[in-house]
């Protein structure tokens, strides 16, 4: 069986006045219908990796890979129009903040209907029916009402659920979620994660969850890639977080204050150039 996603030696570089800047260097992984986490600090290249897979990197970027395949389709060779057809239909991405990723001047329902119409020819009534069904699937209690609201009229958690509804309405096989809960309150975070978790499990999707919160990602995903300065420094089974070896991974785990283990001062993260090959 071909894996859902194959990434081999992916690099993303940006031209600048001082030559090429490497954002992602030699990242490799394969993904089946499972949950993979990518963790790192700002600037570690985790979002750039997700965007390169989606094909959302700005045109001046140079993307190279030995292999970048989605369900056997070579993404590097695919025409822009073919990638557009994949995006939204078979692979989808949820961004960090619903305040910026939803269209502020269109009603929520309309945006979901638009996502449907972009991919398939169905009647308006059918599209509305599916959109309402999807809003219900993301645990929105009163879908009919939310359908007619504008993004500014709903809370952050509700907006993010609407965003997820929009992304999943075409039943993609791969979902890339880039910090989907960082802009939300702690209690709402868990609800939104639960919605993603249920849908990923029910529909057998592949999930890439990008976050800076290692503990959160490990509690959610099957496998975690830890990225530092554009490279993967360690790959971990989530169940074996305590077996992490790399000093950077240990640093990420250690620097977060914990309720049951007070430490003063907090250990801070070491960053060393020799970790990069």
């Amino acid at each position: 069986m071909t894996p859902l996603l194959e990434v081999q030696n992916l690099s993303v570089r940006y031209p600048s006045r001082r030559g090429l800047i490497t954002a992602v260097r030699d990242v490799s992984f394969t993904l089946g219908r499972e949950r993979l986490g990518i963790v790192g600090e700002s600037g570690s290249g985790k979002s750039q990796t997700g965007r390169a897979i989606m094909g959302l990197t700005p045109p001046q970027a140079r993307i190279e890979a030995k292999r970048l395949r989605f369900d056997g389709i070579d993404l590097l060779q695919a025409a822009a129009s073919d990638r557009r057809k994949l995006r939204g239909a078979r692979m989808a991405m949820v961004m960090q903040d619903p305040k910026y990723s939803l269209n502020p001047v269109a009603r929520i329902g309309q945006q979901i209907v638009e996502a449907l119409h972009a991919q398939r020819r169905i009647s308006r009534a059918e599209a509305k029916r599916r959109a309402l069904g999807m809003l219900e699937a993301v645990s929105i209690r009163d879908p009919q009402r939310v359908f007619d609201l504008y993004p500014h009229e709903v809370s952050g958690g509700m907006g993010q659920r609407a965003m997820i509804a929009m992304m999943l309405v075409n039943q993609p096989e791969l979902l890339i979620a880039d910090e989907p809960t960082s802009a939300l309150d702690v209690t709402v975070q868990l609800e939104v994660l639960r919605v993603i978790d249920d849908l990923v499990t029910q529909r057998g999707m592949g999930l890439v969850l990008i976050s800076h919160d290692l503990r959160l990602v490990a509690s959610f995903c099957d496998r975690v890639l830890v990225m530092y300065a554009g490279q993967v420094v360690e790959t971990l089974d989530s169940a074996r977080l305590d077996k992490a070896r790399h000093p950077y991974t240990l640093g990420l785990l250690d620097c977060v204050p914990q309720l049951d283990r007070p430490r003063h001062p907090l250990p801070t993260l070491e960053r060393r150039a020799e970790w990069l090959q």
């Binding site: 600090e41 700002s42 702690v186 868990l190 978790d197 204050p257 309720l259 003063h264 001062p265 993260l269």
Partner: protein
């Protein structure tokens, strides 16, 4: 110990909307107090009311036993300084660090600017090289250090911290929390900190109020919080949420588990 901040049945209203309803709290001099709650709970509004950025409908605020009037004297304002959540939004993008730090000194007519700026930068762990940079040339953590320096440069007795680390990476958060902790002991500061992260509040503060919908839910000390001894259901729920995601056993595994009979 003496009371540094005493808030008595404070209410804040915007038109018909009540943002804070009769909230009271007391903060000892030299201690750190946390305000916890979800968005819309009124925790940030409380800080804004203290610095005079929110309209007080009733109740009053005392700082070192001195009641704050709606029109604050300059000396009163100087004693209270605020650090905002988002260092990307709270620093003027066209001003250098030097100018950002000298502005409060000019407003409060404090002399000796050059030395004060050099001293405060060293205090927050930034070298002199940062002095003539613009905010966009700094990382998130460095910007938050500048924001803290700007609050400190007037030598206040109270720092009001509005989610000072929630826009930062976990690793940078640790550095900023350590910095805040060191500054508190070195300068004998009193902190009032807003955060939605219980672990962050527990790290820095000794006591806290949990707020919801503009009202206080409960007050507790950090020891009780760490041991999970919260009285209200709401605080318990926040505690559970702070432990992270737990996957519930799927229903079918429970339903289809064959019952074992003796």
């Amino acid at each position: 110990m003496s009371k540094m901040i005493a808030i008595d049945r404070l209410s804040v209203r915007y038109g018909d909307f009540t943002a804070i309803e009769e909230v009271s709290l007391e903060v000892e001099a030299g201690s750190a107090y946390g305000l916890v709650g979800e968005s819309g709970s009124g925790k940030s509004t409380l800080l804004r009311a203290i610095v005079g950025l929110a309209p007080i409908a009733s109740g009053h605020i005392e700082i070192q036993g001195e009641r704050l009037s709606p029109r604050r004297a300059r000396a009163q304002r100087r004693r209270l300084q605020m650090v905002f959540q988002d260092p990307y939004a709270s620093l003027h993008p066209h001003h250098t660090v030097d100018r950002l730090l000298s502005e409060p000194l000019q407003i409060h007519r404090v002399g000796d600017q050059d030395q004060r700026i050099a001293r405060v930068l060293a205090d927050v762990g930034l070298s002199d090289a940062f002095r003539y940079r613009y905010p966009h040339q700094l990382s998130g953590g460095q910007r938050q250090r500048v924001a803290i320096a700007r609050a400190l440069i007037l030598e206040p007795s109270i720092l009001l911290l509005d989610e000072p680390t929630s826009a930062l990476d976990a690793s940078v958060q640790a550095e900023v929390l350590n910095l805040l902790e060191r500054l508190r002991t070195e300068h004998g500061l009193t902190y009032l900190m807003v955060s939605h992260d219980l672990a962050v509040v527990a790290h820095l503060c000794e006591r806290l109020s949990v707020m919801r919908d503009g009202r206080e839910v409960e007050k507790l000390d950090v020891q009780a919080l760490r041991q999970g001894r919260a009285e209200s259901d709401y605080t318990q729920r926040l505690l559970i949420a702070s432990r992270g995601f737990v996957r519930e056993a799927p229903d079918h595994t429970l339903a289809h588990t064959p019952a074992t009979r003796p």
